[in-house]
Every structure is written in C-alpha cells, then in structure tokens.
Symmetry: C2
Subunit: 229 residues, 2 copies
DNA sequence: CGGAGTATTGAAACCTATCAACAATTGTGG
DNA sequence: CCACAATTGTTGATAGGTTTCAATACTCCG
C-alpha cells in the first residue's frame, strides 16, 4: 500500500487573491510532506490549520476493519484542518510529495474573534465544504459507477483546471484506489469504467495520472444520468 | 408519494440551554408547516434561517430524473437553512406537521458580525454539520444495507432520545422511503433489513414509526461491521 | 366500508464486488 | 544499464448483494 513515487504537482493556485489568512500569514510555517505521509490523524488534537502550497492531500475516515472512505481531495490554495471541535474528525495524508503551510489554530481563532470579515469568510468556507459534501452524498447514495466516475472527473477538473476545452488534460495525482475509496467503488470498477470511457472516445488516458477530456458534454451528461451510463 | 398523515412529534429539546440564537430570539416568527410541505427549495434565495420547534424536517437534493438523496433529518432544537452562500443548496421539507421559528438571515449575520462568541458558535455548528456529513459518507460509500440501517438507527436514536436502555423506544417520523433515500437504498431493502433485525431479536417494530431497541450492543456491532451483517 | 397510500414479502435480473491472472510501471541493486 | 522485485493498474470469470418487478398486506382516513 506504500507509494514511493516522487512525482510532484505544480501549484494550480499560486497564492489566491482571496487569501483569507492574510492577517496570520506571517505566523505560518512551510512543511514538506512525502507521498503517503499523514498531515494529521482523525482523533488528533486540532492545534493547526493548513494551507496547501503544492501537491495534493486526501482526507479520509477508516472503519475498524480497514474499509476507507475518502471524503475529499484538496489541491494548492485549499485550507484544511480547520476543525473547530478541537479534535480532527478525519485523517489527512499527502497523495504526492506536498508542501503545506501550517498556522497555529489559536492565532486563526483570534483573528476570527477580532475580525468580523474574517469570521464571515470562515463561515462561508465551512458552508462551501458542507455544500460539497452534500453534492458528494448524492453521488455516493444515488449514482451508478459510470455516473460516479464522470461526476468525479468533472468536479476534479473544475477544481484543478481553469480551462474546459476539448482535449484539455487533467492531472489525477491520486491512485485508482484513492478514487475508488472516494466514490464507494473498487479499484477494478474504477479501472473498468475509465477503460469504457476511453473506448467510447469520451476521454483519453495517456498515463495513469492524466485524463484528457475529449467531450465535456458527454462527461456532464453521464455525470447527471442524462444519457446511457 | 404524498403523505396525508397528521401525526405529530413532541419537541424532544424544548428550547435548549445552548440556544445560540438568544440575541435574535425576539426577531423570530413561528410558522406551522403541514406534512410534506417545503420550508425552502434548493436554489431559493436564503433570506431566512430556521429553528425547529416541533416536528421533523428532511433536507434533500434531487437529480434531474427524480432520484433523491436525503442528506439529513432534523429534529426540534436544530437550526437549518443557515446557508451563507446566499442561496439554499438543498431543499427542506416537513416530514410531519411541524412548527419552525423563522429568523431573518440578515439579523443573524449582524449578530455574527458584532458578537465574536456568536461567530464562533456558528462556526462550531457548521463544522459539526460537516463532521456529520463525513460520517454519513462512510455509511453511503462503504457500508452494506444492514450496516447502513443499524448506523441510522443508532445515530437517529442518539439525536432524538436521551436514554439508551434495552427496550428503549425510538420514534421514526420519516417514511421507509425517506430512510431509503437517506441511506442510498430502496424501500424494499429498508423493509427487508428491518424485518431481519426484528427476526434476529435486535429490534421490535410495534408500528411503522416506532423502533424498540432490544439490544444496543448488537445494533452498534452491526453498524460498524463488527459482526455478521 | 372502501380507497389510496405505505409497507412487506417473494422471485428474478442486474450491477458491482470478488477472485484470479496478467500487464505495466516504478524502484532497487548488481 | 539491465534484471528483478514490488507495486499499481487492467482485464476476465464468477459470485453475491441490492434492485427491480410483482403481488399482497396493512394503515389511515374519507
């Protein structure tokens, strides 16, 4: 289960104009994280919040018998670990070698307390996350394998790539297993559906970690169950 | 698909000691909602936030072809509709005849802006919701039918009932269809699993809307995949 | 009492998981 | 640099759990 790869992603969002952490930026410390190394574990005391500078992070929960659910993937510019309960309720791990900037939660909370605009921003961020989770619950609860994969590709592309033109290449830093655990499928099913999408000329798969989208319309249609899945 | 029942739930949480809305309480207006009537629709402008006084609310999303995912159920004392994006991203409907107290979102935002404690409370609330969603994603993505039903019963009981003793009766205001759409199953599967749990002496089903838990240990075990599901 | 809606139960079909084999890739060390 | 091992991904055959289709029972109300 260990990856020893050293492939690395370039930051898609350099710093972001809407950097909500500007006031605490000087308190941040950059950290380098090797592939598959944890940023924090579920149950850990939540003393820090992190901003992803480069790389990619997966956030997941484990069942006692090892079954895993990846709630979400995070890319450069994203903030994670902002758990207000004092304890992380998910585990965060690097997918590839990543750089994250760590901020003391205490200082963030202070800014939230002193700065109403910041407080509102943080609330907006929290509700954005919740909205994302609600959309993903539809995927997990009501979509078939093809619809799940198509939804994932569209969503992930939307987050990681600005353009959306035919032939657009989308980086998939995560493994098939990560995708499977995100979508409630097995690696075999993920692989089969991707192969079928390639066979149907919807996508190309130049290598394991790249998807070239040939038809966004087809992908959108499949994602929402509009056409033959 | 219409329920015409008039059964009604008594408030389990009368007002709550941790009533976060105390400062805006006077601005609230009570509303009565018939069973199956919407409180708001996905896409509606989010001008109000609501506190459930009595009854039960389901929050859901619909796919174009009618497939439905119920993200969560809410009971007396709960706050809903606190979408900061300005637009509701889910639909909320009464399950049974309910009383909800409506607050202008504007006034809540003002309190959040002026009162740091309130801001922090709202953030905590938002992250509690996110944590709940993350737990439910494990259920949707990685559990089988029996584990899903058991998880739901344990979670719902935890929210609606203080006690947790053998023979404890738990009210299920929602229909089998609501439960199915919450757990990513069909009504038939929900019915079958409940029948099986009754046959296995884990629960009793005196009527459609009541579950008597005979063994919490068994239910907990099944929920986490600990024993034969 | 009757009718509509809801819930239960059964049989068959289907989608995805499981098991298994193989291919491709990556990393290691001679 | 190449051979080898380990990991990851793909593809095939089969099995199994849940859905689908169908029939019946049960409630709630008019």
């Amino acid at each position: 289960m260990l990856q020893t790869s050293t492939r690395q992603l370039q930051p898609a969002i350099p710093a972001g104009p809407t950097d909500r952490l500007a006031p605490v930026e000087p308190l941040g410390v950059n950290m380098r994280l090797e592939a598959d190394k944890p940023l924090f574990w579920e149950g850990d005391k939540a003393d820090y919040t992190y901003k992803i500078i480069s790389g990619a992070i997966r956030v997941c929960k484990l069942m006692p018998d090892g079954r895993r659910q990846v709630s979400d993937f995070f890319l450069p510019g994203d903030l994670i670990g902002f758990d207000f309960a004092g304890v992380h309720n998910v585990t965060a791990e690097a997918i590839v070698e990543s750089i994250v900037r760590r901020y003391p939660k205490q200082s963030i909370e202070r800014v939230v307390r002193d700065n109403p605009v910041m407080a509102r921003d943080m609330l907006t961020l929290a509700y954005d996350r919740l909205a994302t989770a609600q959309v993903h619950m539809v995927t997990l609860g009501r979509k078939n394998a093809a619809e799940r994969i198509a939804s994932f590709l569209v969503t992930h592309a939307h987050r990681s790539t600005a353009a959306r033109r035919p032939g657009q290449s989308v980086a998939l830093p995560m493994s098939r297993g990560d995708i499977a655990d995100h979508l409630g499928l097995t690696v075999e099913t993920v692989s089969r559906v991707l192969s079928r999408l390639r066979h149907d000329r919807v996508i190309d798969l130049p290598d394991f970690h790249t998807v070239v989208v040939r038809s966004w319309e087809a992908l959108d249609g499949i994602a929402e169950g509009g056409e033959a899945a």
